[in-house]
């Protein structure tokens, strides 16, 4: 199952767990399954059923460009990070 790395400010919702394994073949399913286990977490990550503006999701080393539709491999690591601009 994908391994979701929980940002420190969200760990109050996961009882301190830093990494959790949740099922899902795309990001939407992963976040829905996270919400089932840790109610309230989706609101922190999403706005109107999309990833919050300013937030980037790194899945297996690549930034998700398809948002909630991004596929998640069974062994993928998922990180929620600040979106990065550039000069």
């Amino acid at each position: 199952m994908p391994r979701v790395f929980i940002p420190p400010p969200m760990r109050s919702l996961t009882e301190g767990e830093e990494v959790v394994e949740v099922g899902g073949t795309n990001l939407r399913q992963v976040i829905e399954n996270l919400e089932q286990r840790f109610p309230g977490i989706k609101e922190r990550l999403c706005q109107e059923e999309e990833i919050r503006p300013g937030l980037a999701v790194d899945i297996g080393g690549s930034v998700a460009t398809l948002g909630m539709l991004q596929r998640t491999a069974p062994d993928a690591e998922i990180h929620f990070l600040p979106a990065i601009g550039g000069g």
Partner: protein
């Protein structure tokens, strides 16, 4: 150039004459200020003389009555935005803040904040008219220091800002507003256990001043709002599609009603992404019925566009006596300027990114102060933190008596290493850049002479992928017209054309690249994040593959064989029984075989693997004046695969020189009232050819597996190492550790005198 097992390319790695060369060297290239339209009016902007004040009233009646004035606008002419956060392709923006930055609403938050604008028959009337606009202010105390701005006693700039943190619960709107707009926290391993293993720990505080990108061409925009509702914007920008979206959002018109025509650009470096002028010129055009041109003065560019923030940082590193990093901790506060949006997020992610650090903790704050809203500048946030970390690394090396290059190699980030912010590196070239410097003639050469010293430092930037599109039309004479939407700020049109040429097996000269307007080409994200040669290059390669597929079908038709029997390679088509058509030959047959062949390509999913650079500098310090002279400078950088080595070298040299300016001289000088006192190039000192020697470059090529030819972006990394490398060289020269940028003569002299006393 350090290269291993490089594939044999025909075009990539060569140095063709740049496609825009003739126009640039003859002065025919059209920049934003060159735009002239029939009936065009000239605009001027009234800007705040105060750093922090409430606007009690604005009276434009006298300006409107002046002969030759055709329109006057204030924020009342722009639509209310409400609480909207909009994704703009390379970051999100709070539209309430964006519109208030374009024309102040209720408050001015920095000296130079735009308040009103006038369009008139000529610039002299416009400038006279803005003097007739009467603004009544209620002055407020300016907040200029990032740490003071964070205190509970500080005046608050924006009453709608509460601290946001990635993944934290949204703050109640009933809670007290604050200047701390964002908070970031990253942790890895056990920080206390890590430091407990350390034989040596160094902890220092660092400050850096606000600095500007220093592009030569000021911001400009010429806009015509036609009677059919269609708005055309001509300007120099790093992202025509981003300007289209920002302008449409700020004016609340359909995006299809806005066409952005990018002109040539005289530098951007991250500072020409946000819009300042287009919505204002658009409203002036709508009111007057005429095209309107606005061009900023140099002072306005300094005072009212988006420099990179000043910062305060506390960084701590621990290592074992055998030279292994065991823990690192960083506390970083960035000046956001008037509104949220500093690059504090990437700064937190970059601070330890060069190293395999088993235990780390990084905390960052985005803090509003009464200075212009900051914006991206080459590897945003990374130069600040590289100054801190790379200075500490050398201090550790001195304490445990290890060569700083060897220490960096021993601790370097490499494939499989997890960053403190979480993700794991794919194949990257940090080790190779340090080795390139260690093995360089420069590093090996003795440095003799009094008050001379040598320093090295490394730097990292992620490099972005994002979205690009390109199309390419085959011409009957065997050439290709390439259309792409990435505005060219560093030679990208030639780099992209070379990739298309390589994929088609033709020469770079046989491709004519054009940067299209937003109605002519598919969506492209901004030219930034060192992404264009990578991502738009992929789009061009995809367009070439599309052309190949179509040409295969045409050849199959000509030879009356199944398409599966035809292949494309080496610049031509190959069929059964030795049949062959060169690209030129098939191009000549297109009209009789179905007409135009247009290849299309996009790129959206590829993510770059990140890039590293390591620099070595020799300096001589005048101990009587505190002045630093750069004697010799060598920069090594992993560029994946150098498409056009001259451009790669140019990017490395340009970035290094900007980093040298940041290190030694550049800073926004504010007085206690919040007025920038050096807002001209006479007083804001960027380096010239008299200040720097030739920057020697070493191109390291560790191909990025996520690009067909292994490209890594080049433009941003080279600005990261210079301040720390120079600080380390100064220490080597005179035994003084500098923790405050710029390391200008007064500051350095004070430290030298302190040491001597």
């Amino acid at each position: 150039m350090a290269t291993a097992d490089k594939p044999k390319y025909k075009v990539i790695g060569t140095r063709p004459v740049r496609h825009d060369g003739a126009d640039k060297v003859t002065g025919r290239a059209k920049y934003g200020a060159d735009i002239k339209l029939t009936g065009m009016l000239y605009g001027a902007t009234l800007r705040s003389p105060h750093a922090h004040a409430k606007i009690k009233s604005i009276d434009t009646s006298k300006a409107e009555a002046l002969a030759g004035v055709r329109a006057v606008v204030t924020s009342a002419d722009l639509p209310e935005q409400g609480d909207r956060i909009v994704e703009l392709g390379e970051g999100a923006a709070n539209m309430r803040h964006l519109t208030a930055n374009v024309l102040a609403r209720g408050k001015v938050l920095y000296k130079g904040h735009a308040i009103a604008a006038v369009a008139a028959d000529n610039i002299h009337i416009a400038e006279e008219a803005i003097k007739l606009i009467k603004v009544e202010y209620e002055l407020l105390p300016p907040v200029l220091d990032v740490r003071k701005a964070m205190s509970a006693e500080s005046p608050v700039l924006n009453d709608d800002i509460r601290t946001e943190s990635v993944g934290s619960a949204p703050a109640s709107k009933d809670s007290k507003p604050t200047n701390i707009a964002k908070h970031f926290l990253f942790e890895k391993g056990d920080i206390a256990a890590g430091f407990a293993k350390a034989d040596v720990i160094v902890e220092r505080e660092f400050d850096t001043s606000m600095v500007h990108q220093g592009y030569i061409e000021p911001h400009n925009a010429t806009v015509f709002w036609n009677t059919d509702g269609k708005i055309t914007v001509w300007l120099s920008t790093q992202g025509s599609f981003s300007v289209r979206q920002q302008t449409a959002e700020l004016l609340k018109v359909a995006i299809s009603n806005v066409k952005v025509v990018p002109t040539e650009i005289g530098g951007g470096f991250g500072g020409k992404i946000s819009v300042y002028l287009p919505p204002v010129a658009a409203m002036l055009s709508k009111k007057s019925g005429r095209p309107v041109k606005l061009v900023m003065s140099r002072t306005s560019v300094f005072e009212a566009t988006g420099p990179t923030p000043g910062s305060h940082m506390k960084v701590k590193l621990g290592a074992t006596k055998d030279g292994k990093l065991v823990a690192g901790e960083a506390w970083i506060a960035f000046e956001a300027g008037a509104y949220t949006g500093s690059p504090i997020g990437p700064a937190c992610m970059c601070v330890f990114a060069c190293y395999d650090l088993p235990n780390g903790r990084v905390e960052g704050f985005d803090v509003c102060v009464n200075k212009p809203r900051t914006n991206a500048y080459r590897a945003p946030g990374s130069t600040h933190v590289a100054f801190a970390t790379e200075t500490l690394i050398n201090e550790i090396c001195e304490k445990i008596d290890i060569d700083p290059a060897d220490f960096r190699i021993k601790n370097a980030a490499k494939e499989g290493v997890r960053r403190v912010d979480g993700p794991v590196y794919a194949r990257v070239g940090m080790v190779e850049t340090v080795e390139a410097i260690k093995n360089s003639e420069h590093y090996k050469a003795p440095l003799e002479g009094k008050h001379r010293g040598r320093g090295i430092a490394s730097g990292f930037w992620f490099n972005c992928g994002l979205k690009s599109a390109a199309s390419a039309t085959v011409n009957p004479d065997g050439t290709v017209s390439l259309l792409e939407g990435s505005t060219d700020i560093g030679g990208s049109r030639t780099g992209i054309a070379m990739q298309l040429a390589e994929a088609l097996g033709i020469t770079a000269e046989e491709v004519t690249p054009t940067v299209g307007d937003t109605d002519s080409v598919g969506y492209c994200d901004v030219t930034g994040g060192s992404r264009v040669t990578f991502a738009t290059g992929i789009a061009a390669i995809e367009a070439a593959k599309d052309i190949q597929r179509q040409l295969i079908a045409r050849a199959a038709m000509i030879w009356d064989v199944d398409a599966s029997k035809v292949s494309y390679s080496d610049g031509g088509l190959h069929g059964p029984a030795g049949k062959h058509l060169s690209f030129k030959e098939i191009a000549a047959k297109l009209h009789g075989t179905g007409g135009a062949v247009i290849g299309r390509g996009t790129s959206s999913e590829a993510t770059q693997g990140g890039a590293f650079g390591t620099h070595c500098v020799d300096v001589e310090v005048d101990v009587d004046l505190g002045k630093v002279q750069i004697l010799r400078y060598t920069a090594a950088q992993d560029c994946g695969t150098a498409i056009h080595p001259s451009y790669v070298e140019g990017q490395i040299q340009g970035g290094a020189v900007q980093g040298i300016g940041w290190a030694l001289n550049e800073e926004y000088w504010y007085d206690e009232k919040g007025e920038m006192r050096n807002a001209t190039y006479l007083d804001y000192r960027i380096p010239t050819c008299y200040d720097v020697p030739m920057i020697d470059t070493i191109i390291v090529e560790v191909p990025d597996p996520q690009h067909p030819y292994g490209v890594r972006g080049v433009g941003e990394v080279p600005i990261c190492p210079p301040p720390a490398a120079i600080a380390n060289a100064i220490y080597d020269a005179v035994g003084v550790r500098m923790h405050d940028l710029p390391m200008s003569p007064p500051k350095l002299l004070a430290e030298i005198l302190k040491k001597e006393s």
